[in-house]
């Protein structure tokens, strides 16, 4: 009979009207500025640069290898290599980025820079309230604005960070052990050959390139 379907529909909207007051499964709205949903661990927004220790300009993990700059699909990363070198966490002298800019008005949050980075230096941030009145400089993140401490990374991606930290500790321990062994070997050699005429070059091993696709997420 004409009208039955309409009445069924009315009953349905009526039920939803009542249900929106009773059933949290129906009323899914979150009143954003006051209420916030917990951010998912995998959530990604824009990249940031991880640094170890306290100071960003010392502990930056990035070695300015420019892989991310090459791989970035929308080409929003700009890196200038430094002239000098600084020791990294293993003590090996490395370049560091003199300029590291990410234009987040171009960045599409695809995470490819994170995946291809062999040094665990660039990670995805979860900061999403980035609106600014200055659409040029406000949206161009420079090195200083990008650099964030490892503790921040640990806070937003705990599983990931723990794994990476563990690996880095391992690497460091290995590197130190090797350095020590090398030094001892050298010392032995030196004592055996010509004592006093050695150049104390601690040839640290190359950091084991982390499997890029694994380091980021798993």
């Amino acid at each position: 009979m004409l009208g039955i379907g309409l009445i069924k529909g009315l009953a349905e909207t009526g039920r939803n009207f009542v249900g929106s007051y009773l059933d949290p499964d129906r009323l899914v709205t979150v009143e954003y500025p006051e209420e916030r949903l917990p951010v998912k661990e995998n959530f990604r927004q824009f990249p940031f640069l991880v640094f170890d220790g306290e100071k960003a300009d010392i502990g930056l993990r990035c070695v300015a290898c420019q892989i991310c700059e090459k791989e970035c699909p929308p080409q929003c990363i700009y890196i200038e290599k430094s002239k000098d070198k600084k020791p990294d966490h293993l003590g090996k002298p490395q370049f560091y980025p003199a300029v590291f800019d990410i234009d987040i008005s171009v960045c599409m949050s695809c995470q490819i820079c994170v995946e291809v980075c062999p040094f665990d230096a660039i990670k995805m941030d979860q900061q999403f309230e980035l609106s600014t009145a200055d659409r040029f400089r406000g949206l161009l993140l420079t090195r200083d604005r990008l650099a964030k401490p490892n503790s921040h990374f640990q806070a937003i991606h705990p599983r990931d960070a723990a794994e990476i930290d563990m690996r880095r500790v391992d690497e460091r321990a290995k590197a130190e052990a090797k350095a020590k062994a090398d030094a001892e070997a050298k010392a032995k050699q030196a004592t055996a050959a010509a004592p006093g005429a050695t150049k104390a070059v601690a040839s640290t091993p190359k950091p084991a390139a982390a499997p890029a696709n694994e380091g980021a997420i798993s």
């Binding site: 009979m1 004409l2 309409l6 529909g9 009315l10 009526g14 009207f17 249900g19 129906r26």
Partner: protein
């Protein structure tokens, strides 16, 4: 006490006009009533827009406006300020004069329709002998305003919207009026006050004699209500402003305050149609049961009005829109015949009486007509639910 409360506004009006000379007293009273109507229903309009948004939001499992004022109930004030301060844009090619006059020509007749509504006992602003006719005459004048708006904007969408609006309003004017004729026949009066009084519970009866409690009255009420949906361009008959097809229809080129006037006229039209439905079929200001007579009459009226408006909102939250030809089909092939069938049914009811005999004779006619007409309307288009097959895997 109850009587005082019941006649509160009547006494107030009387007190205000009493010191005036006899000659201008009715005019002043009319002006005051008009002012009161504008104030009350203007406020109603504001609150209804908020309530509608909140109710539809809840039907859609959203929260709705909740930022301005307590629970967002001052949203309408914010909206009003916004529309008032917006730039009033008139297209350069528009017909300036007609474009300016259209919202006024729409609003004035709509406001006039309120004059004959009995809001309570002795609370009719203009108690005409031909009140019902006045209502329809004023209501019919709005069509022209819609045309003026659509035509003067020189916009193809607005012209389409205006054409749709006029075709729709003309088509639904007929069932709109015809569905009330049964009431006029039974009551024997065109005066809205008399129609309401005739629906009060007779002495000794516990149930009021609302026309909606009769088979023909129920059918006529539904017809009237559907036609009222169409007349006030409410969903599912909101084709003239069908925002997914013709963007906003006839008032597409209006902005700022003029747009607000259109918006207001739409809502006031909804109120007045609902008020007339209450008056004609739901017993106006009378109580449904005799023992509830102590509740002030105007409370009954506004309560019933609120129920009908809630229905308007509920339907809007539910239904998709009809198409133009279907709308026409529905008006001419379903509503008009049904309205015509209701007329003799009302006459039969009048002679068969209110007892079981009346029910036995009239109910089958109404139901049968409804089923047959509905089936013919749907069947001709082969509209039905379908069953589906699956590919053999």
């Amino acid at each position: 006490m109850a009587a005082t409360l019941d006649q509160l506004f009547v006494q107030l009006l009387h007190g205000m006009t009493a010191p005036l000379p006899e000659a201008i007293r009715p005019w002043v009273a009319l002006a005051i009533s008009l002012g009161a109507i504008l104030a009350v229903f203007g406020l109603c309009f504001g609150i209804t827009t908020v309530c509608e948004r909140k109710a539809i939001a809840r039907m859609q499992n959203r929260l709705g406006p909740n930022r301005v004022g307590p629970y967002g109930f001052l949203q309408f004030a914010a909206d009003g300020i916004k529309t008032l301060t917006k730039e009033d844009i008139v297209p350069r090619t528009a017909d300036q004069v007609v474009h300016f006059l259209a919202p006024l020509a729409l609003l004035v007749p709509v406001v006039l329709t309120f004059l004959v509504l009995p809001f309570g006992r002795n609370m009719t602003a203009m108690d005409l002998e031909v009140g019902l006719l006045f209502f329809f005459a004023a209501g019919a004048s709005t069509e022209l305003a819609v045309f003026m708006a659509g035509w003067s904007s020189r916009n193809k969408y607005s012209l389409l919207g205006a054409m749709r609006a006029i075709a729709q309003m003309l088509s639904y004017e007929l069932p709109f009026i015809l569905s009330t004729i049964g009431v006029v026949m039974i009551t024997g009066a065109l005066s809205t006050t008399k129609i309401v009084e005739a629906q009060a519970a007779a002495p000794g009866e516990w149930l009021a004699r609302w026309h909606v409690f009769t088979p023909w009255g129920l059918a006529a009420f539904l017809l009237f209500l559907i036609a009222a949906f169409a007349e006030s361009n409410r969903s599912p008959f909101d084709l003239p402003e069908g925002e997914s097809e013709i963007v906003a229809g006839y008032f597409i080129e209006y902005s700022g305050f003029k747009f607000a006037l259109f918006f207001m006229a739409e809502y006031l039209g909804m109120f007045s149609s609902s008020g007339m439905a209450v008056t004609l079929f739901l017993g106006g200001w009378t109580a449904p049961f005799a023992f509830l007579d102590w509740v002030p009459s105007w409370m009954w009226f506004f309560g019933k009005l609120g129920v009908l408006i809630a229905l308007f909102i509920w339907v809007r939250g539910t239904t998709p829109r009809l198409r133009m030809d279907q709308l026409m089909d529905f008006a001419w092939k379903f509503m008009l015949p049904l309205a015509l069938i209701i007329l003799p049914t009302a006459a039969i009811w009048h002679y068969a009486g209110r007892g079981w005999l009346g029910w036995l004779v009239t109910a089958p006619i109404v139901v049968g007509a409804y089923v047959l007409l509905g089936r013919s309307l749907v069947g001709r288009r082969r509209i039905r639910q379908r069953s589906y097959r699956y590919a053999a895997t």
